[in-house]
């Protein structure tokens, strides 16, 4: 019998029961909750007079609606305020732990979860947010769910699911200088396409992945969903275990050895069989910039914007035409000649301390280019913000002309006041370049933190390795 993949192992350990057609009840260990996708679920519980099955499995935090400045005035948008107050009220009513505004642990749900050790190796983790795939960096099976499923997990501690297929993406060899986790995952998405991982759990493997810190691994797994895969996973190793040790939700000292011993098995067996396997050469990966309105529309920084006339598939040619029009770009333009108006460094993809360090290293001693209307840095959590300030990163950003903001999702999806105006072009470290994502008519180019900082100080996309 063939060995098991990492996904097989975590899946098998969580099957409560299986029906004849393969439909399973899958037990959920950790349920992360935020204000946008939970109110209707809590309301459903109340209407049906149900209690959460295991309240201790839930950790809640408001993030999507949170303003990133003038917090002393509270949330001034009444609709946003009601949503956050509704979360507070629901957490109080049901006894759910919540890190509310003003708590240093408050921040983006996917930054907070790992920072607190609330996501552990081998867990099943869900959240009403597609970027829950982030937590797969710990060898957890983690994915986003809709609000009905949020209610289902609250009420039953289970999800109704069928097993996905197994894909492995091997990034072989070492990446070159100046190439980051973001460039790796954008390259993967460009390679397999935005639907390439649909129906699969993707395991990211290979030397270049092993070499990444946990934060880099989170960046890669975060964007598994942009390749269509609900879940991305990376095997557990010393890096994982070192990161988890001592965090508030980590196993207690008397549980630690048994936990580590169990975690040591969280890797694919040597003879495991994958339904699909993709190989990439790490050394050939360059810094990436998206040019279009889907994350698969991505180029190396020395590339040129594609020409629909050269595309033979009519559906794809139409997509390129529509994207060029929306993005205000001409075919065949070198991407490094494209000027930007705003820069956003933040989001669950790239707002952790290493991301801020990488951006600060570029910003240090430089100034925003004159055409940059706004460059903002939004730390992923209060704790990230505090650490960055202790390291003096805030002063580097402020000296260069960046704004230093309060934690939250911010302009990744522009549910708060941080947004692009129609036609504005943004170098963004977030995860989605969809039409209108950062504000109606806004034009988003996805890049790494270092590349975003480089665009801020030069005014256009530029190969950060040559600065």
């Amino acid at each position: 019998m063939a060995g098991k993949t990492l996904y097989d192992k975590v899946w098998d350990a969580h099957v409560v029961r299986q029906e004849a057609d393969g439909t399973c009840l899958l037990y959920i260990d950790r349920h992360l909750v935020h204000e946008v996708t939970s109110p209707q679920a809590f309301e459903g519980l109340k209407i049906a007079k149900r209690q959460p099955w295991r309240t201790a499995s839930m950790v809640a935090v408001p993030d999507h609606n949170i303003p990133t400045k003038d917090l002393d005035q509270g949330i001034t948008d009444p609709v946003s305020r009601l949503q956050v107050e509704t979360l507070n009220e629901n957490c109080r009513d049901f006894g759910v732990t919540e890190f509310n505004l003003g708590d240093p642990r408050q921040g983006i749900v996917h930054v907070m979860g790992s920072e607190q050790g609330a996501t552990l190796p081998g867990m099943t983790v869900v959240c009403g947010d597609s970027h829950t795939s982030t937590h797969g960096a710990f060898g957890a099976l983690a994915h986003g769910i809709g609000t009905s499923e949020v209610e289902h997990v609250m009420a039953t501690q289970c999800l109704i699911q069928k097993k996905m297929k197994n894909m492995r993406v091997n990034v072989n060899g070492k990446v070159g200088f100046g190439v980051t986790a973001k460039d790796i995952v954008l390259t993967i998405i460009g390679e397999i396409g935005t639907a390439g991982g649909t129906g699969y759990a993707i395991e990211f493997a290979g030397e270049a992945i092993r070499d990444l810190s946990i934060e880099g691994r989170m960046t890669v797994c975060n964007m598994a969903i942009e390749a269509g895969a609900r879940a991305g996973m990376i095997a557990v190793d010393d890096t994982t275990i070192e990161y988890v040790k001592g965090r508030p939700y980590a196993p207690k000292p008397e549980q630690w050895e048994a936990a580590v011993s169990a975690w040591r098995d969280l890797h694919s067996d040597a003879d495991a069989v994958f339904d699909c396997e993709v190989n990439l050469d790490a050394a050939s990966i360059k810094p990436q910039v998206t040019w279009g309105t889907s994350p698969e529309m991505v180029l190396a920084v020395d590339g040129i914007v594609p020409d629909p006339a050269k595309e033979t598939d009519p559906v794809k040619a139409n997509s390129i035409r529509a994207a060029l029009k929306y993005m205000g770009l001409e075919a065949n333009t070198p991407i490094d000649q494209v000027q930007v108006d705003k820069v956003f460094i933040g989001s669950c993809t790239n707002s952790r301390i290493e991301d801020l360090r990488a951006a600060a290293a570029v910003a240090k001693g430089r100034k925003l280019a004159s055409n940059i209307k706004l460059a903002m840095v939004v730390p992923g959590s209060g704790l990230v913000k505090r650490q960055a300030e202790q390291e003096g990163l805030d002063q580097i950003f402020l000296a260069a002309g960046f704004e230093w903001r309060e934690p939250g999702c911010s302009m990744c999806l522009a549910m708060n006041a941080d947004r692009l105006e129609p036609g504005e072009r943004c170098a963004s470290t977030s995860n989605r370049n969809f039409e209108g994502r950062q504000g109606q008519g806004g034009r988003t180019h996805l890049v790494s933190p270092a590349m975003a900082a480089a665009a801020a100080v030069t005014g256009h996309f530029v190969d950060v390795r040559q600065l």
Partner: protein
Amino acid sequence: MEKFTVHQGLVVPLDRANVDTDAIIPKQYLKSIKRTGFGPTLFDDWRYTEPGEPGMDHSKRAVNQDFVLNFPRYGGASILIARENFGCGSSREHAVWALDDYGIRVVIAPSFADIFFNNSFKSGLLPIYLDAASVERLFKEVEANPGYQLTIDLAAQNVITPSGDKLAFEIDAFRKFCLLNGLDDIGLTLQHASDIQAYETKRKQTAPWLFN
């Protein structure tokens, strides 16, 4: 949940691939704490020529006459056809609620994003995937024939064209059962409460740190 058995309705063609859930329902409307009322802002950025915000009277906003949902011939459509990877991106179930609230009961495409596909069944919206050639045929027929309707027979798993051709589709047995009977997942799962408890008891012994 409303039962889904046989549905006949007018078809609207949305000729785009990778339609994401941000496009289906933009973020500003996710601030609602309700499940209803998202229909008027379905495809908001494409449907209106001016920006929309929650609380507006959407019936007074200028509509984009070039957007297919606004063509008079597709008024009252309940079946949407689209291209590959429909519903990609954000997990927001509001996308399904918006389609449902607008009156869409069925979406037909060559492929769907996983989370959207899964969410659809929870509100009785039926996502049907057909091969790309069949979807291409439907696009051609609907554009050529004003008033073009399809009939969806869930029990028989057929999409029936006006000429009587039957295009068979696949659906998971459990999901079909729930849709046909309008069943609530949570009630069904709680019938297995003793299995869940037994799993937890065992798991607490082998991996107690998961229950801290």
